[in-house]
C-alpha cells in the first residue's frame, strides 16, 4: 500500500491558500509582528496573528478556519466527505479554549474538543465521525502518521488531516509563564536564539491511496517518547532520532536519499539543542536543515500540518526555503542551516516535531513511490486490565482497593499510598494525570519490557478540562498570574508523558479525544501501531476526569 498527499491548503496570516503562503515565503516575508492590541496577550508580544479574520456565521474563528481549509482540499482533490471510505482527523491542542474566558462555571460546550469534531461532522454530514488527535505540538505530524496507518490498514481510501489552533490569553499567558517567548523574531538553531514566537494557522491536506499527477508520497512515520521530563526535552536526542530512524525504515529510505530535514525548530534553547543531537544521531547533520517557525511562528496543532505542506511543495519545486535570520550555529551539533533559499535536486525529506509530554514524531515524504509492508490481520492479546471509578480500583476484574471518599483528590492519594510507591512527583500532577498514573502503576506490576517495545494509546472526552479551568481562573485576574506548574497540564497527553517517565516507555504515544470510549477502534489502532513500530506491548485505554467524575479503563495488550 502507498499513500500520497493529493491536496493541501495553508491558511495563515501570510495568506489564504498554499500558493499565497509560498509566495510570501519566497519573498522572505514573515507573519510574525508585534501585537499591541492586547487581543491575545496582556503585554506586547511578537506573534503571528490573523489581522482581520471574519468568522462564518454561527461558528468560531477556529471552526471557520477549519471549514475554509477543508472546503479547499475537498474541491481540489475531488474526494467526497460523505463517502464511508473517507475520514477526517482533526489535529488541535486547545480547540476553542478561549471560550472558557466567558465563564468557568457554565462551560460553553464548544470548548470541548469532541464538540469541535461534532460541529465538523454535522457541517459536512460526514460518513465517519471526525477523529480528534490532541498530542501537544506533535499533533499535526502524528495525525499524518495515523492517517497513513488507517489507509495502510484498509480502513479508508482517503483521510483529510486538518490542523488548527488560534491564539488567546489562555495560550500566550502559559507560554509567558514558561519564559519561552522571544521578544524578537525567533532564530532557530542560531547562537542568539532565546525563545519562540506563537502563531495561529490552519492547514488541511488529503492523504490518499490513489496517486495523482505529481503527488508526493507519504512513505513512513513514527512516534516516540523521551521518558525524561514533561516539559524539558530529552538530554540526548536519542528518542527523536528513534522516531526518525523508524520512519525512514518504514519508508525503506537511506540517509543518501534524504534531500533535507524540516525540523520542529522552535528556537527555544533546549528544543533546538535536543533536535541538533537527534539529527546528528540519525546521521543527517550534513543534510540541509530548516525551521519554518520564522515565517509562521509556532502554530501548535497546525504546525505539523502546515510545515509538512511546505515540505510537499519544496519537494515538488526543488526550492528549499531559508531559515530566516539564521547567522551563526548555536547548537551542540552543527547543522547545515541557511538563511537563504536554495535550489536542490529533490528526492525525499524528513519532517519532525517534538512537544510537551516528551513526545516526538517524524514522517518521510518522497517524490518517489514506495509501498510499505502489508499489515497482518491479528487480534490483540489482553495481558491485564485495570479500571478505576467510583472509589474502586479493580485489576483483571477483581477489586484491589476501595475508598468511600467522594473527593477524587483524597481517593487517589489513598489509592496511591496503598501502592507503596514513593514518587514525590505524584503530588505535583494534576488530577487526570494522577488517575492515569495510578492505573498504569497497577497495570504494569510485574511486567518486564524494553523501553522502545511498549507504546501508549489513550483517549478521553474531557481532554484536560479541569486543569484548563484552573488555568483560566488564575489568569482571569491577569495573564501574569499564570502558573507554569498548572499550565503544563493543560495538555491531555501529559498524562502519557508521566507514565512514560515512570516506566521508561519510549514507543508510540498518542492521545485521542472522543465523546464516548471507542474501545474497539482504539484496540484496532494500537494493533496497527504495534506492527508499524515493532512494539510488543501497548497500553490502550480511556482516562477521563471532570469535577470528581472519573473513569480510567486501561488494558495492556500484546501484539
Amino acid at each position: 500500500m502507498s499513500t500520497y498527499i493529493t491536496a493541501d491548503c495553508i491558511i495563515s496570516p501570510l495568506g489564504i491558500g498554499t500558493k499565497q503562503n509560498l509566495k510570501a515565503m519566497e519573498q522572505c516575508r514573515s507573519g510574525i509582528a508585534l501585537q499591541t492590541n492586547q487581543l491575545v496577550a496582556d503585554t506586547e508580544i511578537m506573534a503571528s496573528v490573523f489581522a482581520n479574520a471574519t468568522n462564518i456565521d454561527g461558528y468560531t474563528k477556529l471552526e471557520s478556519l477549519i471549514f475554509s481549509a477543508i472546503d479547499n482540499v475537498v474541491a481540489t482533490s475531488g474526494i467526497s466527505l460523505t463517502d464511508k471510505h473517507t475520514a477526517v482527523i482533526l489535529s488541535t491542542t486547545k480547540g476553542n479554549v478561549e471560550l472558557l474566558a466567558q465563564s468557568t462555571t457554565c462551560i460553553n460546550p464548544k470548548a470541548y474538543l469532541w464538540n469541535v469534531a461534532q460541529t465538523i461532522d454535522e457541517h459536512y454530514h460526514l460518513a465517519n465521525q471526525t477523529i480528534v488527535l490532541s498530542n501537544a505540538c506533535i499533533s499535526g505530524v502524528s495525525a499524518m502518521v495515523v492517517a497513513k496507518r488507517l489507509i495502510d490498514a484498509g480502513d479508508f481510501d482517503s483521510v483529510v488531516v486538518v490542523g488548527a489552533d488560534v491564539l488567546s490569553h489562555f495560550i500566550t499567558s502559559g507560554f509567558l509563564s514558561f519564559k519561552s517567548l522571544s521578544a524578537n523574531r525567533c532564530l532557530p538553531f542560531d547562537a542568539r536564539r532565546n525563545g519562540l514566537n506563537l502563531g495561529e494557522a490552519c492547514g488541511a491536506l488529503v492523504v490518499s491511496n490513489r496517486k495523482t499527477q505529481g503527488s508526493i508520497c507519504l512513505r513512513g512515520g513514527a512516534i516516540s517518547n523521551d521518558a525524561n521530563h514533561i516539559s524539558g526535552p530529552s538530554r540526548t536526542g536519542y528518542e527523536l532520532n528513534l522516531a526518525i530512524r523508524q520512519a525512514m525504515a518504514e519508508a525503506k529510505i537511506d540517509v543518501a536519499d534524504i534531500s533535507f530535514v524540516d525540523t520542529h525548530g522552535t528556537a527555544t534553547v533546549y528544543n533546538d539543542e535536543m533536535e541538533s543531537k537527534a539529527v546528528g544521531l540519525a546521521e543527517l547533520a550534513n543534510k540541509p536543515v530548516q525551521s519554518l517557525k520564522p515565517y509562521f511562528g509556532h502554530t501548535l496543532g497546525a504546525s505539523g500540518v502546515i510545515e509538512a505542506i511546505v515540505c510537499v511543495n519544496e519537494l515538488k519545486t526543488g526550492l528549499l526555503y531559508g531559515t530566516l535570520g539564521f547567522e551563526q550555529t548555536g547548537t551542540p551539533i552543527t547543522l547545515n542551516v541557511s538563511a537563504q533559499h536554495q535550489t536542490l535536486p529533490m528526492n525525499s525529506c524528513v519532517k519532525t516535531a517534538s512537544g510537551f509530554g516528551g513526545c516526538n514524531a517524524a514522517i518521510v515524504l518522497s517524490v518517489n513511490d514506495g509501498a510499505t509492508a502489508e499489515l497482518e490481520q491479528t487480534e490483540n492479546e489482553i495481558i491485564a486490565s485495570v479500571e478505576i471509578s467510583n472509589g474502586v480500583v479493580t485489576k483483571n476484574g477483581e477489586q484491589i482497593f476501595a475508598n468511600s471518599e467522594a473527593d477524587f483528590a483524597t481517593f487517589i492519594r489513598e489509592a496511591h499510598k496503598q501502592l507503596g510507591e514513593a514518587n514525590m512527583k505524584f503530588f505535583k500532577m494534576d488530577d487526570m494525570s494522577k488517575l492515569g498514573y495510578v492505573a498504569a502503576e497497577v497495570l504494569l506490576q510485574g511486567i518486564a519490557f524494553e523501553p522502545e517495545k511498549m507504546g501508549i494509546v489513550l483517549s478521553n472526552s474531557a481532554s484536560s478540562i479541569d486543569t484548563d479551568l484552573r488555568h483560566q481562573e488564575l489568569i482571569n485576574a491577569g495573564d501574569a498570574d499564570a502558573s507554569p506548574a498548572v499550565f503544563v497540564y493543560t495538555l491531555a497527553n501529559v498524562v502519557i508523558g508521566e507514565i512514560c517517565i515512570k516506566h521508561k516507555i519510549k514507543g508510540e504515544n498518542t492521545f485521542f479525544v472522543s465523546r464516548n470510549y471507542n474501545r474497539q477502534w482504539l484496540h484496532h489502532y494500537a494493533q496497527i501501531a504495534m506492527q508499524k513500530q515493532q512494539m510488543n506491548y501497548c497500553i490502550v485505554g480511556w482516562c477521563n476526569l471532570q469535577s470528581n467524575n472519573y473513569n480510567a479503563i486501561f488494558e495492556l495488550v500484546k501484539k
Binding site: 509563564s177 503530588f427 505535583k428 503544563v488
Partner: protein
Amino acid sequence: MEELIEKLKGQLIEELNLEEVTPADIDAEAPLFGDGGLGLDSIDALEIILILERNYGIKIENPAQGKEIFYSVKTLAEYITKNQK
C-alpha cells in the same frame, strides 16, 4: 534570616505542592534540585521565580541565572535579603 528561611520553606511547600513534606524536613543548606534533597525540576524553578516576583518584588528574567541563587533555601534567603527593595 532565620525567620525568612522558615517563611520560604512554607512558601515552597505550598506553591510547589510538596505534599507530605514539613518545614522541619527541609534542610536549609541542602540542594533543592537534582537527586536527593527535594528533587525539584525546571518547572519548580519557574515557580520559584514567581514566588520571588509576587512575594518579594524580585525579578529574575533569565532562568539560567537562577542556578546559584536557587541552590538551597539558605542561598535563596541570602539573595532575597540582598536584593529586596
